[in-house]
Amino acid sequence: MSSQADRQTSVPVDAVDVVSPADAEASEAAPAVLTVRGLTISVRDLELVSDVDLSVGPGERVGLIGESGSGKSLTALGILGLLPEDVTAAGSVRLSGIDHDLIGAGERRLSRVRGNHLAMVFQEPMTALNPTMRIADQVAEAMLVHRTQSNRRTARAAAVELLDRVQLTGIARAYPHQLSGGQRQRVVLAIALANDPALLICDEPTTALDVTVQAMVLDLILRGVTARDSALLFITHDLAVVATICQRVLVMYGGRVVESGPVREVFTNPRHRYTEGLLAASDLEAADSGPVGTSEPVRRRLPTIQGTVPAAGHFPDGCVFRTRCPHATEVCAERPPWTGDQTRGFACHHPAGADDV
């Protein structure tokens, strides 16, 4: 009856879709923790996310990359069932161990899943915590709500230990305003991990943080999910962060997944022209080819993607990238089919590296 029971029985839902994570360390054929099929999110008649498929295997770490307007955050909110009032989602979102589709499920059923099987960390650590509650109480609350701890005393003890684990020792009685942004984000992480979720979704969790703090939070996220064998869906615009923490990556543009695959393959051998452009534009290292210390250093310009990201609803038909793509031809007015499979594929009529294939 309770969600605990659901988890123990662990009915394989949608077992047809088996995702094999690329890295050898990840598990072999096992039912996916999260299976999203044909997720479409729209405001009135405007489609913001179109037909997104994605699955995350047990213990797998998947990155979702995109710039502003790509629909990556909406996808996360859609999975969590946290879309704003006038935004609607269609398609299917299944979580292993949950016997119903998350799309269309009522708030009561969803709230039993959220924070328990499915936990999240958002970008803004300032607003994610209740300013009038001590942090340990907030972590304890997360466990009491889902009855993973039976009483307040044990929950508090578990909370203090969790805070220890994210290297917040001895400040359990602090209030959120007494903490720095990085510390607050660690509290949020502790809350997210409190019930050993099967899946942790992080939406730009380190974007608001300094680089050195980011490194620490990333380390703690990785440790947290590894220790619990939780799957991770990590949403960011930062390619390097995804490369550091994820095994597999999906690239979104204009509300569609344009390419997916193992991190190493996508980052070293991108097929979609958008991925290719994005990688080139963000690679400051390669652009600094000039030898250091010589009297005549040379500075290269960064390769760019022309134009700007269109506003929501103003992406072109067919290939969403064709208005900015240097390789676009007439055929791009037709929507490119998905080439490849669930694990590795892309949607492009003129893929990069096609000549040498």
Binding site: E67, S68, M216, V263, L284, R300, T308, V309
Partner: protein, 295 residues
């Protein structure tokens, strides 16, 4: 294909010319707002004895994390804030105690580009008025031709002038900001985190634009950022700030490749990069400065 650009001047040599910006032992204290009637207001030491020199034509980077004092330093250099002690000399003139009415040379020669493309443009003004503002202030003829020329220089179409800032994307707004800064033909361009709020694909465009303009117009660039890899790409020399002090100065290549100060080592190690990651770096490695350096 990427074009090759020569640096205006190699800068690791001892400077032969007078520095265009010379900051000597500058401190800046702020009183915290009082929290109690009985207790004294606390004092925040935003800058604790900062000294630096920027040579004409140089691209100088200031790197540091939030709260390190880099924005305060930048405002003091732009005479938008006054140091508590110390001296700032710009273009041979000590601006430290100069009243506003005698800062005209600075207002013409030093212009700023800010981080937040949302708040850096007055939402109630049309783009052409925004760009013309520095010209009007300084009594130059603010002709439509000059505004069109500036819009063209930053890669915007002439009809952009009739529109309001909110009709543009972040990257386009940053271009407008740059056009406004270039309007009075400044010698020094000070950029405060100009690409931090931008998308990756747009960031490259804006970085290229700044780089091109600095070359074409022979500007001195002071580029402030929290991101050492961006500074390394744009600048020749860099000062690393931490807790109100400059902990390390050097050419960007040297500082990036062989940081000496423990903080700089920590900072460099913490930057995630794709090559590092593909070579197998984990977040733990980001936390570990190389070769037993103190954390």
């Amino acid at each position: 294909m990427p074009e090759l650009y020569r640096l205006p001047r190699p800068t690791d040599r001892p400077p032969a010319v007078d520095p265009v910006i010379k900051v000597t032992d500058v401190t800046r204290d702020y009183p915290r707002p009082r929290t109690s009637l009985l207790k004294r207001a606390e004092v925040v030491h935003a800058l604790r004895g900062v000294s630096l020199e920027v040579q004409p034509g140089e691209r100088f980077g200031i790197v540091g994390e939030s709260g390190c004092g880099k924005s305060t330093l930048l405002r003091i250099i732009a005479a938008l804030d006054r140091p508590t002690s110390g001296r700032v000399v710009v273009d041979g003139t000590d601006i430290t105690r100069l009243p506003e009415r005698r800062l005209r040379f600075l207002r013409e020669n030093l212009q700023l580009v800010f981080q937040d493309p949302m708040s850096s443009l007055d939402p109630r003004m049309r783009v052409r008025d925004i760009i013309a503002e520095p010209l009007v202030v300084q009594g130059h003829p603010a002709s439509g031709a000059r505004v069109r020329e500036l819009l063209d220089a930053v890669g915007l179409s002439a009809d952009a002038g009739d529109r309001y800032p909110h009709q543009f994307s972040g990257g386009q707004r940053q271009r407008i900001s740059i056009a406004r800064a270039l309007a009075p033909n400044p010698k020094i361009l000070v950029a405060d985190e100009p690409v931090s709020a931008l998308d990756v694909s747009v960031r490259a465009q804006v970085l290229n634009l700044i780089s091109d303009l600095v070359d074409e117009l022979d500007l001195t660039l002071v580029f402030v950022s929290h991101d050492l890899s961006v500074v390394k790409h744009v600048c020749d020399r860099v000062a690393v700030m931490h807790a109100g002090e400059i902990v390390e100065t050097g050419t960007t290549g040297e500082v990036y490749a062989a940081p000496r100060h423990p903080y700089t080592r920590r900072l460099v190690a913490a930057i995630p990069t794709i090559p590092k990651a593909l070579a197998g770096a984990t977040p733990e490695d980001l936390l570990t400065p190389p070769k037993g350096a103190p954390r």
